[in-house]
Symmetry: C2
Subunit: 299 residues, 2 copies
């Protein structure tokens, strides 16, 4: 059975009863597994992680909207994290036995239904977007809920689905499809922040580096070392091992070595397998050679 | 649900109807998946690969014995591969959510039942063996079916279960538990067979190398290169990356580089993940950070 991951971000992180009602709505849908959810009160935002096939995920997102639109009023919402709507962002991520195209189709299907049922305008993003100015979440969310009405009045910002003006209390929602994100950090055996910052600049897309890398340099004060902190937004096109080897080589330039790297949260098996294939120089490897995959697919 | 793999080797590779009757017997057991089976006529031997939890696997092995003991007579059996019995070897291999101890217990349970129902003497091997002289399959099988009656008459060779003499037509069976085998080859960018042979000798257990490596050097005539061909018998204790790095370093001694490596057949995900962890210097990695594992285990 295909597995799609969906990670809705909702603009409520302070009222547990609202967060719980949304979790309950997701759990009530058969065929969807709610893997995780957590709230950040200072961001006033909650992130839900669920997985399933297309039809149950669609039902779960609609059930979630029903709760969120009824309970959340952006006019009274404050928090550190930028947001446009009560349900702020809904990404669909292909995990197993499903193509990106299928996730794009699902995103559009859900967007249309949400717009029709809740009168919330929808912007499509990432792989679901066909407008280069509206691919990036940060670009779409600029000006936030407070600037949304003025922005939607300009010709470039007609939504992809739904009404031409914001929902009074629920704003607008960004829905789309993207590759799994990998949060990946490399710790350097030095306390020189300038080295971490220079390496981050060398590898990140925005300053000339790899296309699917976002990176910044940080100091880990308690450990007296520095870190290159990254988001890898497409591990197939910019694989972990290439980023690691480049960071290692750039660090050598300063006489600095790598202490360790860390994967924060989840990583797709294929991203790790690609590293094993690269370093072990494995030729002609196929995913169904992984014993567990074989056991799961064959009958 | 726990997954155990079982790979019975049966002394019949020339009569398809017998092989099919055994496959059908395995398939008839609910909860067991027959993943693969293949016959080698020159070895006159067939290998079946199945997976499931303990109870269904036990039922499948018993069903298989019923067919094999009725159809195969070792007194009339010829073939290149050494063998002791109609059902020659039955290894149980822990794959997921199951310990080696549980596989050892299953091996003993199946051994006892087979001995009782079919009057076939059973030798326990590998992790199921408590006798150092009877751990290794090659040691137990020395002298083959033809020498079995004489050998069983000696005090050291009383079986672990069952009668003190061979079954007249079905001989004896070796049953046990072991780690998954990885068949791993490294191709060298040279046609010098002596280099492959020296490297094989350096890394294999029998001549002073790594404990869980069997290795030999071969010429790949059609490609004009040589190969270090290996079986890794415990990838947790002798990991792939350590073997690869050692072969690479030994090859450098002769000015030879590695062309590529290859994994023949199946490999456990954990063996590949360990390589990724090593080369990327990933600290504190846990198996449940692999997205697919998380998706499968949580609810």
């Amino acid at each position: 059975m295909p597995i799609i991951e969906c990670i809705p971000n909702v603009s409520e992180g302070r009222r547990p009863e609202v967060v719980e009602s949304i979790a309950a709505a997701i759990r009530s849908v058969e065929g969807v597994r709610l893997l995780d959810y957590s709230s950040d009160p200072s961001h006033n935002r909650s992130v839900f992680t669920m997985a399933g096939d297309a039809a149950p995920l669609k039902a779960a997102v609609l059930a979630m909207f029903e709760q969120a639109v009824a309970a959340i009023d952006l006019r009274a919402h404050t928090g550190e994290h930028p947001r446009l709507g009560a349900v702020d962002v809904v990404p669909f991520v292909p995990i197993e036995g499903v193509t990106m195209e299928a996730c794009v189709a699902l995103a559009k299907d859900v967007a249309q239904e949400v717009a029709a049922r809740f009168a919330v305008p929808i912007y499509l993003y990432e792989d679901a977007s066909s407008n280069p100015a509206r691919k990036n979440l940060e670009d779409i969310r600029r000006g936030e809920f407070e600037g949304l009405a003025a922005r939607m009045a300009t010709p470039d910002w007609a939504p992809d689905f739904g009404p031409a003006a914001p929902h009074p209390s629920a704003g607008a929602t960004v829905i789309g499809a993207r590759m799994p994100l990998i949060a990946y950090n490399i710790n350097l055996a030095t306390d020189r922040l300038d080295v971490a910052k220079k390496i981050a600049a060398a590898i990140r897309h925005s300053s000339g580096g790899f296309r699917y890398v976002k990176a910044a340099g940080f100091k880990l004060e308690d450990r007296g070392i520095v870190q290159v902190s990254m988001n890898l937004t497409n591990y197939e096109k910019t694989p972990i091992f290439r980023v690691f080897e480049t960071v290692k080589r750039e660090a050598e330039r300063y006489g600095v070595s790598i202490l360790e790297s860390e994967i924060v949260g989840l990583v797709p098996a294929a991203a790790l397998n690609a590293a094993a294939e690269f370093y072990l120089q494995i030729g002609g490897f196929k995913a169904d050679q992984v014993l567990e995959n074989k056991l799961r697919t064959e009958n």
